[in-house]
């Protein structure tokens, strides 16, 4: 399966995200084709300053995707997802606004005919990959030994997701359970980690991070798994400033990779600040 891929600016330097996404892709036969010449989506910063140019940034990515023949855009970052989704919503069914956004894109020789739907990679794994493909891809048959807490962060499930998944989602847990990964039930799944406020307001963000990681520890988690580079960084780094036991903060693709039998060395796990030491190394690792 082939998708237009928007990696976003934080992907290349995210701790093993790229390695693990590539590993999972090759196991499941997914092809993420990078949208050529993509630009920054603008994240929360652009919309905090000026609406029209912020919309133009997102629309340019869509215009490139359209030009390169992609009917969907797949992203791996919650902030990119929410930003592009916001543009998708603002431009859908609003030909007048679309026309005006095209006025911006003209400066770059581009046109957007209609907003291109945006999806998170998690959604692709859940919705598009049939069970047989997962079974064929799985190289191990033993259970995963470490209890995992899923952390969705804010912007994937809100405000554009299913209302029933906005605060207490369960899609990632279901997927992990199906792969034999023990997950813990906890109340911090979609609490905010402070996002980019950590740059200027670290002291104010630490209580938010402590609330999340503390809850996960209380519920018996041994590994945290995330869906977004910003969330991963804030929890991974933030724990250093908080007393007590620290949990390794992985990407969901790293946990999925381990559960599928991919060798830990192929998943970029050595890039985490809080090291991941598995109770038992996966056998039959490829």
């Amino acid at each position: 399966m082939k998708y237009g891929f928007f990696p976003g600016c934080a992907y290349k330097t995210a701790a093993g995200y790229e390695e693990s996404v590539n590993a999972v892709n090759s196991l499941l036969g997914i092809e993420l084709v990078e949208i050529r010449d993509w630009n920054c989506c603008g994240a929360t910063a652009a919309f905090s300053r000026e609406e029209n140019s912020a919309l133009a940034l997102a629309a340019r990515i869509m215009a490139l995707a359209e030009q390169q023949g992609f009917s969907e855009i797949v992203t791996v970052c919650n902030a990119c997802y929410a930003t592009l989704k916001k543009a998708e919503h603002k431009l859908s069914g609003n030909p007048q606004r679309l026309k005006k956004v095209n006025g911006f894109l003209k400066a770059d020789g581009l046109t957007l005919n209609q907003p291109v739907p945006v999806r998170h990679y998690l959604d692709v794994l859940i919705e598009d990959i049939p069970l047989e493909v997962w079974i064929q891809g799985k190289k191990t048959v033993f259970p995963f030994h470490d209890r995992v807490a899923a952390y969705y962060g804010c912007q994937l499930t809100r405000p554009y997701g299913e209302p029933s998944q906005a605060e207490r989602p369960d899609r990632l847990e279901k997927l992990l359970l199906a792969l034999g990964v023990p997950v813990v039930k906890h109340s911090a799944q979609t609490l905010c980690c402070g996002a980019s406020h950590i740059i200027g307001y670290e002291k104010q963000c630490l209580p938010l991070i402590s609330r999340i990681t503390g809850e996960m520890k209380n519920k018996g988690a041994e590994i945290i798994t995330t869906l977004c580079p910003m969330c991963q960084f804030n929890l991974d780094y933030g724990q250093e400033k908080i007393q007590g036991k620290k949990l390794p903060v992985t990407y969901f693709t790293q946990v999925i990779g381990l559960a599928m039998g991919i060798a830990p060395e192929s998943l970029g796990l050595d890039k985490l600040l809080v090291s991941l030491i598995l109770k038992r190394r996966p056998q039959h690792a490829i």
């Binding site: 140019s53 911006f104 405000p159």
Partner: protein, 192 residues
């Protein structure tokens, strides 16, 4: 940057500013607010805000636009959208926080003591330069404005670099100048 006493300088304009918020930024949505405080109670950084969201909407409805636009509240909004999905009146609270930030920027009254306007400014300059956001460039620009924040971050930067988590050489789009031009274009009559 706004100077001290700037609040007084545009009090006469408050009615006009209220109209701008209502008409150009979907601000009329706050007329539905029943002052239940769900937004303020859901906000992760409400303890940092001078007026929590419920109170901010009340100020705006009563015409205190200077207080609202100079408030630190929208700048402490982390865009977690918790208030927005919980609001019983379906007011797009987070979107309205963006609107207030945009208005504060365009009227040049963005909270001078808050660091977020500088961070967002640094972010957008970096995107105009490279078409993409590079952490090193972003932090260098931000650090010029807030040098005291930087020493603590240097050690972290080094550790991230050793783990291949920090790019020194910046990644660019094919022609960043086109992105800059695009971001600076202002077609007439674009709705907010």
């Amino acid at each position: 940057m706004a100077e001290q006493g700037f609040v007084e300088s545009f009090t006469m304009e408050e009615e006009k500013l209220q109209q701008e918020f209502y008409e150009s930024h979907h601000g009329k949505e706050i007329l539905k607010c029943i002052q239940c405080g769900t937004c303020s109670g859901s906000c992760p950084l409400t303890d940092q805000m001078d007026h929590a969201p419920r109170e901010l909407f009340s100020l705006i409805r009563d015409g205190f636009m200077a207080d609202a636009l100079c408030s630190n509240t929208p700048w402490f909004c982390v865009s977690c959208y918790q208030c927005m999905v919980r609001c019983p009146r379906e007011i797009p609270v987070t979107d309205l926080m963006y609107a207030l930030k945009q208005m504060a920027v365009s009227h040049d009254v963005a909270q001078p003591s808050n660091k977020m306007p500088d961070l967002y400014d640094a972010f957008s300059r970096e995107v105009k330069r490279a078409g993409k956001m590079n952490e090193t460039g972003l932090m260098a620009r931000y650090g010029l404005k807030h040098p005291l924040d930087m020493p603590a971050k240097t050690g972290l930067a080094l550790r991230l670099y050793r783990r291949g988590r920090l790019a020194i050489k910046s990644d660019k789009t094919r022609n960043p100048d086109q992105i800059r031009r695009m971001m600076e274009t202002q077609p007439e009559g674009m709705e907010k």
